[in-house]
Symmetry: D5
Subunit: 93 residues, 10 copies
């Protein structure tokens, strides 16, 4: 499984509308509206790099109201609990 964290700015006044649309997409596990330089942060988890490319370029960035985005692709995930790490986070397999 591969993960990415996406930092997004929306056109003014559309934060909740964009967030709701993103949260509907397969592969986006959570969307947060946040303080600071960005409006939204989305957490993406998909099967492999090819599925990530499809999700980002063909679905996520086609949502109306997005002004800017920066996708932070994860190399590797670290987690406190062995059990969690065994089932839910790896970049592998």
């Amino acid at each position: 499984m591969v993960s990415a964290v996406v930092l997004l700015k929306t056109h003014r006044g559309l934060i909740n509308e964009v967030a709701a649309q993103l949260a509907e997409l397969n592969g986006i596990s959570e969307v947060f509206s946040v303080g600071g330089r960005y409006d939204l942060v989305a957490i993406l988890r998909v099967r492999d790099n090819e599925a990530m490319a499809d999700l980002v370029t063909e679905h996520m960035l086609k949502v109306d109201g997005i002004a800017e985005s920066e996708t932070l692709l994860a190399f590797r995930a670290f987690s406190r609990h062995d059990l969690e790490s065994m089932f839910s986070l790896g970049l592998d397999e």
Copy 2:
């Protein structure tokens, strides 16, 4: 429950060491090493704003090897599945 996404840069060559220490802290649910302008992204989930202030200022930022950090506090979380949203992600009770 309140959430935050923290963008971190580490001193050179210490990415894995810092990630491993962060993943040990209570309240940090995941840490990713990522491509792009940052080295690590940590996802924090704690009971309330006071606990977030403690986690960030008293524990997370005291980990050695962190060079820069930017904490994106979440106002609100959006999720696809009602069940998930009911139990695990809101900012409120």
Copy 3:
């Protein structure tokens, strides 16, 4: 109670008009026109994170004439006088 400091830029020539509209909103306790990189700073104080999310995304950012905004959510407030701190600033309760 939760607080936030919002840094704003307005479209040119609309500083006073935007400031006057912001000062009318419930939850915005003060608005300053300022020198430097920003045009206005607003101080927000509301009951909880959910009310902050509503104020920022549904009311503040819908005011016409705002070009850019950056919301600095407060974790915690510090104050000199115990009496003040008891009644007016905490993040808790």
Copy 4:
């Protein structure tokens, strides 16, 4: 009365220590630890520009642990309630 909003970064791990020292200074009415690109925001209210110059250059910036600061001097304050505006916020008299 004149006001200023000061955006501060501290050396790592010193956020609470710096905030506590700032909150002790005459003329600093509130200090917030915040998410985003800055660590702290301080609200300053003093009698006139000369007192502001003294507070910023002779007291505030001499607190140990401050790494960077940006002082946003207020031209003017806007407030919802006439009564408030009469007593507590103006830049004048």
Copy 5:
């Protein structure tokens, strides 16, 4: 008396036109066209903060052709000659 230094960018090809209009405004003592990241620098000197707020927000920023501005409000002025300092520069009175 209060002073400010304003850094301005104009729309392309309008540097001299904007400079000439700014130089006509009461309270703007000099305007320079400059090399570097900005196109113009204006020096403002007015009676008090309230007059500065009026000059900047109601007159200066309403001049057509200004694309961006950053107002550096002076806390205090320093001068070599006592005589000059006595008559022409203070923030006081």
Copy 6:
């Protein structure tokens, strides 16, 4: 006569000390401590480009406590009053 506006940052806590030293230099007509991204602004007026090069590189930038500087050389000065423009501001003669 040629003019320049210099934007300066000082090492922390040294704003007034640096300003006082700069104000002593021949060719620096005024120094302001300012709010915003810079700490000081100096206004330089000298006979010709060669004198400006000497003032900036041999005297001004050798003052201790300066951390960063950006010199905005003026092409031309604009002024409201003919008399002023005749005697005090031109780039020529």
Copy 7:
């Protein structure tokens, strides 16, 4: 042979379309869609500086959908294998 690495941003939603057009151009050996601040990275290899100037200014930057580009011209290429270095990378000849 001379090489260049070009960092590109596209208009939103056009990443794959721009990449496909770039990959068709003579002299562009590879195009990657990437995470981070840029959308695409193209690797250019042509005979000499004159051919590079033509490729960049007359062909690559005329592809529709490109919003920003930054061309990093290579001085020199370094490679592990002598054989590779002999045939495929030099700036020479």
Copy 8:
């Protein structure tokens, strides 16, 4: 196979030394010294995300003389020639 493009700055005067060390690492197929904001660009090609994480965090960033780096992980590669795409660039397999 997964690819990444890494933008690097070195400590002054060490460009060639760092480039030579990087070019020795398994998984780095080419290193260019370039004009512009960066000193070097490295092209990485490895078997999977886990190997990329090892190469970047355990080998590449441990080379002495690197001052800053930004890793652009590729989602997908586009190429003109089928044959090339079959053997050398895909994200797949």
Copy 9:
């Protein structure tokens, strides 16, 4: 004689057209199309500051297709050969 180096960005696809127009202007001795953050660099050499102001604001910045410019005015020129320095470069006279 006074010199300036001007860094320019053009609207996309117009690099050669803008360069050709700039190269026609009196006082612009050379124009380079360059890699990196800028598209073009122009070298200006004119008789005095007044002529520089005219060239930059009345001629150079009126060329169509220029999106951004930053003019670096030279204080002084340094050259290897005495003879050259005597005739061709100074800010002197």
Copy 10:
């Protein structure tokens, strides 16, 4: 012949010293001390890309007192006079 324009910052107070050393190097035809964000601009003209790589990485960047540099490699030079263009500026051959 290939050309480059190099933007340099020096350590404080060393502008003239660095400029004098750079002007001594073979291949650097002129050095200017400039106003704005940079301290010096150097113009480089050498026989080919390989000579440029040597000049920049082995000689120019080894001069003491340089804090930052950005090398803008020229693709092509444009000049008003045919004669000049024939002999002195091209990227020719």
